[in-house]
C-alpha cells in the first residue's frame, strides 16, 4: 500500500465520542478523472472563511428584531410577550427597527459597522416541521423538492473536486469544513460524499486537542477499547492538523461562560487563527422552540428567549473581538439562521408557534453593515395562522455569499443550486465592495412605489402593477401561511418599464395575499386584501 492508498483509507476513519467522526462513504473514492486530479487544489483563490451559526428550534424573529415603526400592530399581535417599545435597542443607521434589549453585543457590532440585518428571509411554501425545514435550509432545495446534498457541500465539491480521494494533500492539508457540536450535517453533504468533518462536542474536542481520551474500565474490554481508540486516532489524519492549529493559538479574548455557542465559536476562532485553511465552519445552538413561556410575564425582556438571544449576541460579540485580536478579522464572515421563524400572533401559553420567514444576521468586518429589507407587514387584526411574509429567499443569501464572499462567478454559483431556482437568485448587497475586487450593485432605491394593485381591496381579482428595471423579474403571490399561490411573472424584460399582470382570486378565500416583486437586487412585498 503506497502513501496515497494509505491516506485514502485513512481519511474515512472513525469516530468515537472522545475522538472525531467524519461521515465519508467510500463511494466517491473510486472516481478519478485526470481533469479532476488537476483541479485538486482549491479552485478559487481565497482565504475567506464562512461561519454558519444555526439557531435550532425556530427562532422568534419578531421578538429578536422588533418593528418599532409599526409598534402598535406588533404589540397588538403579541400583547403577552411584546418587548416594551422603550426597551428596544436601536441599531446604528437604521430607524424604525430595533433589536431585543438583551442583544447589546450585537448592537455594538452594528455601531462598529460589523453587522448586517436581513429582514424576513424564507422561501415559498414554508414547511413547519423542524426536521424538514432544517433539511430545506441545509440543502437549499425548494419546499417540495428532495435534495440529498447540502449547499456548502456542493460549493466545496466544486472547489475541491474528487474529495476525499487524494486528500489531504500539500495544497489542502486541512478539513474542508468543520462542524462543531454535531455529528452530522446535510449542509456539507456533497453530491456523493460529505465534505466536512465533525467534532463531536466541545468537551471531547478539548480531549482531542489535549490528546487524551475518556477513561476506559480496568477490564479486558477496557484494554481493547483503549487500544482500538488509539489506532482510531492515529488513522484520523486530520486530528493532528486540528490539534496543531488549536495549539498554535495560546491567547484569546475572554468569552462568556455558561454559553455553549461561545464555547464553540471560541474553538472556531482558535482554528482559523491557528492556520487551518478550512473554509466553512458550522456551529449550532438550540433551545429556540419556545411554544410556551418564552418570556417572564412580569418583565417580557427577560426569560427563556431573552437568555438565548443574549447568549447569541454575547458569543458573536466575543468571537468578533477575538478574531480581531487574532488578526484574522478580515478573513471571516458569519451568518445566523434558524429553520423557521414563529407566528406573528403569540399564543395563550406566553409563547409562539412554528412560523415562516425570519430575520438573519451577518457579522464580520467585511459585511455591508446595516439593514436589508423592511419591517414585516403585520396585520391590524392578526389571526393564529398569520405568518411573516418572505422578503428574501434564503437561497439568495447563500448565493450572494458564494459570489461576493467566496468570489465565485455567478454562473458557477447558479450551478450549485437546483436548476429551477437559478434564475430567481438575487445578488444582494451583503458584503462590502472590493472584497472580491468585483463591483457591488447599486444600493436599492427606497421610497419609490414599485409594486401596487388595483382594485384594492378586491373581491374577485385585481391587477398587480409593477416597475421593472429590466432583466429577470419575478412576481410571486403568497397567502398568509407563506404558501405560494401563483407566480404571475417570471421572465426577462429587455428594458426598464412599468407593467401589470392580473391576479385572479375568485377561487381563493378572503384574506390578505402578499405580492412579492423581485428584480435584480430589488425586492418588495405588497399586501393585497381580498374581501367578500
Amino acid at each position: 500500500m503506497n502513501r496515497k492508498d494509505f491516506l485514502l483509507n485513512a481519511i474515512p476513519a472513525a469516530v468515537i465520542l472522545p475522538e472525531v467522526i467524519n461521515g465519508y462513504s467510500v463511494k466517491a473514492m473510486t472516481g478519478s478523472s485526470p481533469l479532476v486530479q488537476a483541479l485538486m487544489r482549491g479552485t478559487t483563490l481565497t482565504d475567506h472563511v464562512l461561519v454558519i451559526v444555526q439557531l435550532s428550534g425556530g427562532n422568534d424573529g419578531l421578538n429578536m428584531v422588533i418593528p418599532v415603526a409599526d409598534y402598535s400592530r406588533y404589540y397588538n399581535a403579541r400583547t403577552n410577550i411584546a418587548i416594551p417599545e422603550n426597551r428596544v435597542l436601536n441599531i446604528a443607521g437604521v430607524s424604525g427597527t430595533g433589536i431585543h434589549p438583551s442583544m447589546t453585543g450585537l448592537q455594538t457590532l452594528f455601531t462598529e459597522g460589523k453587522a448586517k440585518l436581513i429582514q424576513a428571509v424564507g422561501y415559498p411554501q414554508p414547511n413547519f416541521s423542524h426536521f424538514r425545514a432544517t433539511d430545506i435550509w441545509m440543502s437549499a432545495s425548494n419546499s417540495n423538492q428532495e435534495v440529498y446534498s447540502g449547499w456548502a457541500g456542493r460549493y466545496l465539491n466544486y472547489e475541491y473536486p474528487n474529495f476525499p480521494t487524494g486528500y489531504p494533500n500539500t495544497d489542502m492539508t486541512d478539513p474542508l469544513a468543520i462542524q462543531i457540536g454535531s455529528t452530522t450535517t446535510l449542509t456539507t453533504q456533497g453530491p456523493s460524499v460529505n465534505m466536512g468533518m465533525s467534532i463531536t462536542s466541545a468537551t471531547n474536542f478539548y480531549n482531542l486537542i489535549n490528546g487524551t481520551t475518556d477513561p476506559v474500565p480496568s477490564t479486558p474490554a477496557g484494554k481493547e477499547l483503549k487500544f482500538i481508540r488509539q489506532v482510531n486516532q492515529q488513522t484520523q489524519k486530520y486530528s493532528s492538523v486540528i490539534r496543531n492549529a488549536a495549539n498554535a493559538v495560546t491567547q484569546q479574548v475572554t468569552y462568556p461562560t455558561n454559553n455553549s455557542l461561545a464555547d464553540q465559536l471560541k474553538i472556531v476562532a482558535r482554528l482559523i487563527a491557528g492556520g487551518l485553511k478550512t473554509r466553512v465552519y458550522m456551529v449550532s445552538f438550540g433551545g429556540f422552540d419556545n411554544h410556551s413561556v418564552q418570556v417572564n410575564t412580569a418583565d417580557t425582556t427577560t426569560g427563556t428567549h431573552a437568555t438565548l438571544l443574549q447568549r447569541v449576541s454575547d458569543a458573536i460579540k466575543a468571537f468578533q473581538d477575538d478574531i480581531k485580536f487574532l488578526n484574522v478579522e478580515n478573513r471571516v464572515v458569519g451568518m445566523t439562521y434558524s429553520e423557521f421563524g414563529r407566528r406573528i400572533k403569540s399564543n395563550s401559553s406566553v409563547g409562539t408557534d412554528h412560523g415562516a420567514a425570519a430575520p438573519m444576521f451577518l457579522f464580520g468586518s467585511s459585511v455591508d453593515a446595516g439593514m436589508l429589507g423592511m419591517n414585516p407587514t403585520i396585520p391590524a387584526a392578526p389571526t393564529v395562522n398569520d405568518n411573516v411574509p418572505m422578503q428574501y429567499d434564503f437561497r439568495s443569501i447563500y448565493s450572494t455569499l458564494l459570489e461576493k464572499w467566496f468570489c465565485l462567478d455567478k454562473a458557477i454559483v447558479e450551478s450549485l443550486f437546483p436548476p429551477n431556482i437559478n434564475a430567481q437568485l438575487q445578488s444582494l448587497p451583503l458584503i462590502k465592495a472590493g472584497v472580491c475586487s468585483g463591483v457591488t450593485p447599486p444600493p436599492q432605491i427606497t421610497g419609490e412605489k414599485i409594486i401596487w394593485n388595483y382594485p384594492h381591496p378586491f373581491t374577485v381579482g385585481t391587477d398587480i402593477f409593477f416597475k421593472t428595471q429590466g432583466g429577470h423579474t419575478l412576481i410571486q403571490v403568497f397567502d398568509t401561511l407563506g404558501r405560494l399561490i401563483t407566480t404571475p411573472v417570471d421572465k426577462e424584460y429587455a428594458a426598464a418599464m412599468q407593467d401589470k399582470v392580473h391576479f385572479a382570486a375568485d377561487a381563493l378565500p378572503p384574506g390578505i395575499y402578499y405580492a412579492r416583486l423581485q428584480n435584480g437586487i430589488t425586492q418588495k412585498v405588497w399586501p393585497m386584501l381580498k374581501v367578500r
Binding site: 500500500m1 494509505f6 483509507n9 485513512a10 481519511i11 474515512p12 476513519a13 472513525a14 469516530v15 468515537i16 465520542l17 475522538e19 467522526i21 461521515g23 465519508y24 462513504s25 467510500v26 463511494k27 444555526q54 435550532s56 428550534g57 416541521s129 423542524h130 426536521f131 424538514r132 432544517t134 433539511d135 428532495e146 457540536g181 454535531s182 455529528t183 452530522t184 446535510l186 463531536t200 462536542s201 475518556d214 476506559v216 474500565p217 480496568s218 477490564t219 479486558p220 474490554a221 477496557g222 484494554k223 481493547e224 477499547l225 483503549k226 487500544f227 482500538i228 481508540r229 488509539q230 489506532v231 482510531n232 492515529q234 488513522t235 449550532s284 438550540g286 433551545g287 422552540d289
Partner: protein
C-alpha cells in the same frame, strides 16, 4: 519502523501510562462451574456473538425464552441439512490453452467434475469461497459455521497453494462433517485428505525419501503444540513421517489412496515423551490406516493434546490472554472433560459455554471482532437478504463482494498466511489486536459506511443496510431514547455513558432540537403515511445514527 514495531512501541508507551497493564490482575479466577446467574438478553447476546456471526434480533428473541443450558445445547446441535454444493457461476473459459469445463452447465455443481486445468480450478476456488461466504451469512442457528472456520484455520491449508477448488471443497465438507464431532477422528481423516496431502507434501512421503512436513505439523500445530509440556523430539517427527508414508492422490478421482509399495514397513520407535512406544511396521493395503491409528492413539494419549486444543478454543471464543488462574481453573478442567469424552468436541464446548467463566463480566465485550465477525455479523444483524438459489449469479456476485471485504481487512478464508493459521490466534503478545491497525480499521469503517450509504447491487438487486426497516423491528422506535438503547444493547457489548447517549440523540435523531417528540412525531408520520418525504426525514437521521454507531471503537468489540 515497520508496522509491527510501530504497534509494539505504542503499546509499550500505553502500558507505561496505563494503570491497566499486562500482568495486573484484572483477569478473573472464575472457573467452569455451571453459570447460574441471570439469563437475559445481555447473556444471550454475549453467547451468540461469540458462537455465531453477530447476534440477530430474531436469534436473541429465540434464545431468550430458553434456559442457558438449552440454548447452549441447541447451538451445539446443528439440525439444518447440509447445504447444496457450490455451482458453476463463472463463465466457461475461452482462453486459448485452457481446457474449459463446458460440460458443466451454468448453475449446476462442479464438485464431482474432474478437470485439472489451472484456470478452471482457480475459478472453482473462487466459486467455493463465494459459496462459503453465502453460508456464513445464511448460517443456521448453531455454532457450526464458526467451528468450520475454526477448524479450517486450525489446519491452516492455503487453497491458493493447493490449487484445486475441488479439493478445497472436499476438505471443507470433511471439516463440516466433523466440526462438532470427534476431534481425533477429524485428525485421522484430515491426515488422508487430498488437500492436506498436497499442502504438506504427504503425497510425496515415501519409504525412500520420507517427507517430514506433515508429521511435524501434526504434532506442532494440529495436536500437541509447542508448549513447555510438549516434549516430542526431532526423531519422533522422523518416525511419525515414516508411519505416514505411502499416501498418494489419485488425480483421476480426486481421492487419496494408500500405496503399500511406498510405505516404510519397518518398526517406528518413539522417544520417552511417548513412553518409548514402538509402532509395528505393517505391510499390505491396510498398513497405512493401521499405523495411522496407532500413531494417533499414541499422540492422543498425551495430556497436552487436550490442553493445546482447549487453549485454542479459548482464544477463539473467549479471550486471548491465558494467565495462571485461567490455566488452572479453566483450561485444565476443560481438557479433562475433552479427554474423558474421548475428544468429543460437543461436551467440551458445552462445559465452556455453560461455565461461570464464560459469562464472567470480565470476559464480556473484550473480544476484538474478526473481519468475518465484522462483515458477516453486520450483514446478519442488519438482516441482509439474498435471492433464491436459482439466482445464483446475483448471489455469488454479492457474496464475492463481502468475501473480498474480509480479505481486505486481513482475513482470507481458507487462505491463511501459512500453515499456522491466522496470527491473531497464536501471535504473542498481540493476538486479537493484530486485526486492528491503521489499514484495517478504516476499512472496517468504510465497509459499514458503504453498506449504509449505497450498498452493493448486482443484476438490479441491491443489498444495503435499511436503517428504517431495522428500526421497525425494534420494540419502541418512536422513542429516541429506547431506540438508541436497544440498538446499543444489540450492537455493542460495552455501554456508552448517559451523557454520550443524550448527545447522540440530540445531535443526530433530533437534529439539535430539544424535544424528544419531534423524533416521535417524525417516526409516527412515517409509519402512518410512508411518503418519500416522511421516509427521508427518518431515514436521513437513522442513517447518520447507524453510521455513527458502526464507526465507534466500541463496535469493534464483541
Amino acid at each position: 519502523m515497520d508496522r509491527r514495531e510501530f504497534l509494539t512501541a505504542r503499546r509499550k508507551k500505553q502500558a507505561d501510562n496505563a494503570e491497566n497493564i499486562s500482568g495486573k490482575p484484572y483477569r478473573t479466577t472464575s472457573g467452569i462451574a455451571t453459570y447460574t446467574g441471570a439469563w437475559t438478553e445481555q447473556e444471550v447476546t454475549h453467547l451468540l456473538k461469540r458462537t455465531m456471526f453477530g447476534a440477530t434480533k430474531a436469534d436473541i428473541d429465540y434464545f431468550k425464552f430458553r434456559t442457558m443450558s438449552q440454548a447452549v445445547d441447541e447451538l451445539l446441535t446443528p439440525t439444518a441439512p447440509d447445504p447444496n454444493p457450490p455451482v458453476k457461476e463463472y463463465a466457461t473459459s475461452t482462453t486459448p490453452g485452457v481446457t474449459p469445463d463446458g460440460n458443466i452447465a451454468q448453475g449446476t455443481t462442479w464438485i464431482n467434475d474432474i478437470n485439472s486445468d489451472g484456470t478452471v480450478q482457480s475459478q472453482r476456488r473462487s466459486s467455493y469461497k463465494k459459496w462459503w461466504t453465502g453460508l456464513l451469512i445464511n448460517q443456521d442457528r448453531s455454532i457450526r459455521e464458526k467451528l468450520i472456520m475454526f477448524w479450517t484455520d486450525h489446519f491452516g491449508n492455503e487453497t491458493a497453494e493447493v490449487g484445486y477448488g475441488n479439493w478445497a471443497y472436499k476438505q471443507h465438507t470433511l471439516i463440516r462433517q466433523y466440526a462438532v464431532g470427534n476431534f481425533k477422528n477429524l485428525v485421522r481423516e484430515i491426515t488422508k485428505d487430498v488437500s492436506m496431502l498436497r499442502y504438506l507434501n504427504g503425497y510425496l512421503n515415501n519409504k525412500n525419501a520420507p517427507d517430514e512436513n506433515y508429521a511435524r505439523e501434526l504434532m506442532e500445530l494440529f495436536t500437541l503444540g509447542k508448549g513447555p509440556d510438549s516434549q516430542y523430539t526431532e526423531n519422533d517427527v522422523k518416525e511419525a513421517a515414516k508411519v505416514l508414508t505411502g499416501w498418494q492422490i489419485d488425480g483421476a478421482t480426486y481421492t487419496s489412496v494408500f500405496n503399500a509399495n511406498r510405505h516404510a514397513t519397518t518398526n517406528k520407535l518413539f522417544s520417552s515423551f511417548f513412553n518409548n512406544t514402538t509402532i509395528t511396521g505393517r505391510t499390505g493395503t491396510t498398513a497405512g490406516d493401521l499405523e495411522l491409528a496407532d500413531l494417533l492413539n499414541m499422540i492422543f494419549a498425551q495430556q497436552e493434546v487436550a490442553k493445546y486444543i482447549v487453549r485454542k478454543f479459548y482464544r477463539w471464543f473467549v479471550y486471548y490472554a491465558i494467565d495462571a488462574a485461567t490455566e488452572t481453573n479453566v483450561i485444565a478442567p476443560l481438557a479433562d472433560i475433552f479427554r474423558t469424552n474421548n475428544y468429543e468436541i460437543k461436551p467440551l464446548l458445552a462445559a465452556l459455554f455453560k461455565s461461570e467463566h464464560f459469562y464472567d463480566m470480565l470476559n464480556r465485550g473484550c473480544y476484538i471482532k474478526t473481519p468475518a465477525d465484522h462483515v458477516i455479523g453486520s450483514l446478519r444483524e442488519m438482516n441482509i437478504q439474498f435471492r433464491p438459489e436459482a439466482e445464483y449469479d446475483t448471489n455469488y456476485g454479492l457474496w464475492n463482494t463481502f468475501y473480498s471485504w474480509m480479505v481486505n481487512m486481513g482475513q482470507n478464508l481458507h487462505d491463511p498466511p501459512n500453515v499456522s493459521g491466522m496470527p491473531a490466534y497464536y501471535q504473542e503478545p498481540s493476538f486479537h489486536e493484530i486485526w486492528i491497525n491503521s489499514d484495517s480499521l478504516p476499512k472496517r469503517n468504510q465497509f459499514t459506511d458503504t453498506m449504509i450509504n449505497s450498498g452493493y447491487s448486482r443484476n438490479g438487486y441491491r443489498v444495503q443496510f435499511n436503517c428504517v426497516a431495522f428500526a421497525q423491528t425494534l420494540t419502541n422506535p418512536a422513542n429516541p431514547n429506547d431506540l438508541i438503547d436497544e440498538c446499543l444493547r444489540m450492537f455493542f457489548r460495552n455501554d456508552l455513558s448517559a451523557q454520550s447517549k443524550a448527545q447522540i440523540k440530540t445531535q443526530i435523531l433530533l437534529t439539535g432540537q430539544q424535544w424528544d417528540y419531534y423524533w416521535t412525531n417524525a417516526w409516527a408520520a412515517y409509519i402512518s403515511n410512508p411518503t418519500t418525504a416522511n421516509f427521508n426525514t427518518v431515514n436521513t437521521r437513522l442513517k447518520s445514527l447507524f453510521q455513527y454507531f458502526f464507526n465507534l471503537s466500541e463496535y469493534q468489540l464483541s
